[in-house]
């Protein structure tokens, strides 16, 4: 199954004016980053310089969706919503990075916040640090945009040493409703060791959908692989029979054939 319908065509092209003002300041030489000191030093070691802390957010209202109590099914409207909301946030973050002339964004984090005054709505935020190669080579991806990755500074350095370059953060999402068992079924299996086929089937299918969508995104970037894949399962505010499966990872391509990672020193530490 392919991605849900194309993202809305009216994605905002302009960032809020407060953002442009802040980004201008960054273009004059000051850099900001949410990298720790360790990560900062390793990013420099990899030949990149941080440009600025970039972020994008979107407050999205998730519409109601009717569902059949007794059937396991994907709730496509909710899937679309979760996908679009995250895309909006990520796109704004990428726009900020492009504004700074970045080659990519590292350490991307995606957060979801709920506020009491926003029922059925949530704020989706994407954060990261935009970086640029110091030797002027362009690291933009197949779509001509700065790469995004949720790799930490350490992982980014290690990846570059192996001759691979990040292309983009890829994600696939699927919101699945798990059928409630009929009363007779529930009573019948009470107290026994037994597999619950609808649960198994539902969770299996949902995870597969999420991961396939993620791989499709990687395909669009002409990536040779995905590293650091994480599978997250959250119920957000929908109750325990509706779960969002989010599969997220960094798509990479191989650049050169050599691996420059030096032979590691193996140690056994004897202190605690």
């Amino acid at each position: 199954m392919t991605q849900p319908a194309d993202p809305p065509k009216d994605l905002p092209k302009d960032l809020p004016k407060d953002a442009t003002h802040r980004l201008e300041e960054l273009e004059h030489g000051l850099f900001t980053s949410d990298l720790s000191v360790n990560e900062f030093l390793l990013v420099k070691e990899a030949g990149f310089h941080p440009l600025g802390f970039v972020m994008g957010s979107s407050i999205y209202h998730i519409g109601l969706q009717t569902r059949k109590w007794g059937e396991s099914q994907e709730l496509t409207k909710l899937t679309e919503a979760m996908y679009t909301a995250r895309e909006l946030a990520m796109n704004r973050m990428e726009e900020e990075a492009e504004e700074l002339g970045a080659d990519g964004v590292v350490g991307v984090r995606l957060d979801v916040n709920y506020y009491e005054w926003g029922s059925d709505s949530a704020e989706f935020i994407a954060f990261g640090t935009a970086v640029k190669a110091e030797d002027g080579t362009s690291y933009k991806n197949a779509l001509g945009k700065p790469f995004t990755s949720d790799l930490s500074g350490q992982d980014f350095w290690t990846l570059m040493q192996t001759g691979h370059v990040p292309q983009g953060l890829v994600m696939g999402t699927c919101v699945y409703h798990i059928a409630h068992r009929k009363l007779t079924q529930a009573l019948g299996s009470m107290g026994q060791n037994v597999e619950l086929p609808n649960f198994t089937q539902a969770l299996y299918e949902a995870r597969e959908l999420a991961m396939t969508r993620m791989q499709d995104e990687a395909g669009q970037l002409n990536a040779s692989g995905i590293v650091g894949v994480r599978l997250e399962e959250k119920s957000h505010q929908w109750g325990s029979h509706t779960i969002e499966f989010l599969s997220i990872g960094t798509a990479v391509t191989k650049t050169t054939g050599e691996v420059t990672l030096p032979k590691p020193l193996t140690i056994i530490s004897l202190d605690n």
């Binding site: 030093l41 390793l42 350490q154 350095w157 290690t158 590691p264 202190d271 605690n272």
Partner: protein, 301 residues
């Protein structure tokens, strides 16, 4: 500094004479301890419940002087006065304010802490220990107000082939295990666990009261401003705590300092601020050789 305690409680005598030791050390700490040539001889503790009177003896209040009158306290304790800039407004308008150090509270705290500490040392001496490591100290307020319980717990140790403790007083430290090993390797010998406390009371005057209660005051419409009186009290209490601790150091260094500040907001902008500083008093016993810069590493797992 320390008060002599009554005889050891009977239960302590029984526990000590049993021969086997008990210790509060974890297994790695125990191993490190043996590596240092320290032999645990028993778990020791000291205990004291202290009460200080409300505006106890010696305070300027009890001496009949009004805290609202301007004038430093006669015992040299910190105090600062504030005077209202307005003319007469009303009987409730607070025309005077003062930041007052509360030496009676500090003295009571010191006495309680000292007594509990001394009792722990008594137990250690009864076991023939040279020092006490892994000290844990707790100060807990008890149900009634103005009462606190001081509790010390530690593991008494002897140093292999070591001399009896100087002046008959075992040395003590909060550290144990690897951290104690590193401290010794770096050339620092623990002398004692040291703690001091300072307490300052803020009697707010009109401006402070308005600022702390969100009032707009006179001529102060919709602006923010720093609350000077409260800030000065906070800075003073921290400086005083450090000053008190320094007096106990006699030139030795204090490592691993922990500073705790507790404030209780009372009505009308008044506040009581207590600041406690604890740390390990240490003495350099050998020249310091600087270690070379360590090599940074990146872990692969």
């Amino acid at each position: 500094m320390s008060q002599s305690s009554a005889e050891l409680p009977e239960a302590a005598v029984r526990r000590f004479s049993s021969g086997a030791f008990s210790s509060g050390l974890t297994v790695p700490d125990f191993a490190a301890c043996l590596q240092l040539g320290l032999e645990p001889v028993g778990l020791v503790q000291g205990f004291c419940v202290m009460q200080w009177g409300w505006y106890g003896a010696g305070s300027s209040f009890m001496r009949g002087s009004n805290p609202y009158t301007m004038g430093a306290q006669s015992d040299g304790a910190y105090s600062e006065s504030y005077r209202c800039p307005h003319g007469y407004v009303s009987a409730e308008h607070r025309m005077w304010g003062q930041n007052l150090e509360q030496p009676w509270v500090e003295a009571a705290w010191s006495a309680g802490y000292g007594a509990a500490y001394a009792r722990m040392l008594d137990e250690a001496t009864a076991l023939g220990a040279h020092g006490v490591i892994g000290v844990v100290d707790r100060v807990t307020p008890v149900a009634d107000s103005q009462t606190s319980e001081f509790h010390f717990l530690g593991t008494a140790v002897t140093v292999e082939d070591g001399p009896p403790p100087a002046a008959g007083v075992p040395w003590t430290t909060y550290l144990a295990g690897q951290r104690l090993t590193k401290s010794i390797e770096a050339g620092f010998m623990p002398v004692a666990v040291v703690a001091s406390m300072a307490s300052v009371r803020v009697w707010a005057y009109c401006i402070t009261e308005y600022q702390m209660e969100g009032g707009r005051g006179w001529g102060n419409t919709n602006q923010t401003g720093e609350v000077e009186q409260v800030i000065r009290a906070h800075m003073a209490v921290r400086q005083l705590a450090r000053k008190h601790v320094r007096q106990k150091l006699v030139g030795d260094a204090l490592h691993g300092v922990q500073i705790d500040v507790e404030k209780r907001e009372l009505a009308q902008g008044d506040e009581v601020i207590d600041c406690t500083i604890r740390g390990n008093r240490v003495r350099r016993f050998k020249d310091f050789d600087v270690v070379p810069s360590p090599r940074p590493t990146v872990r692969l797992s």
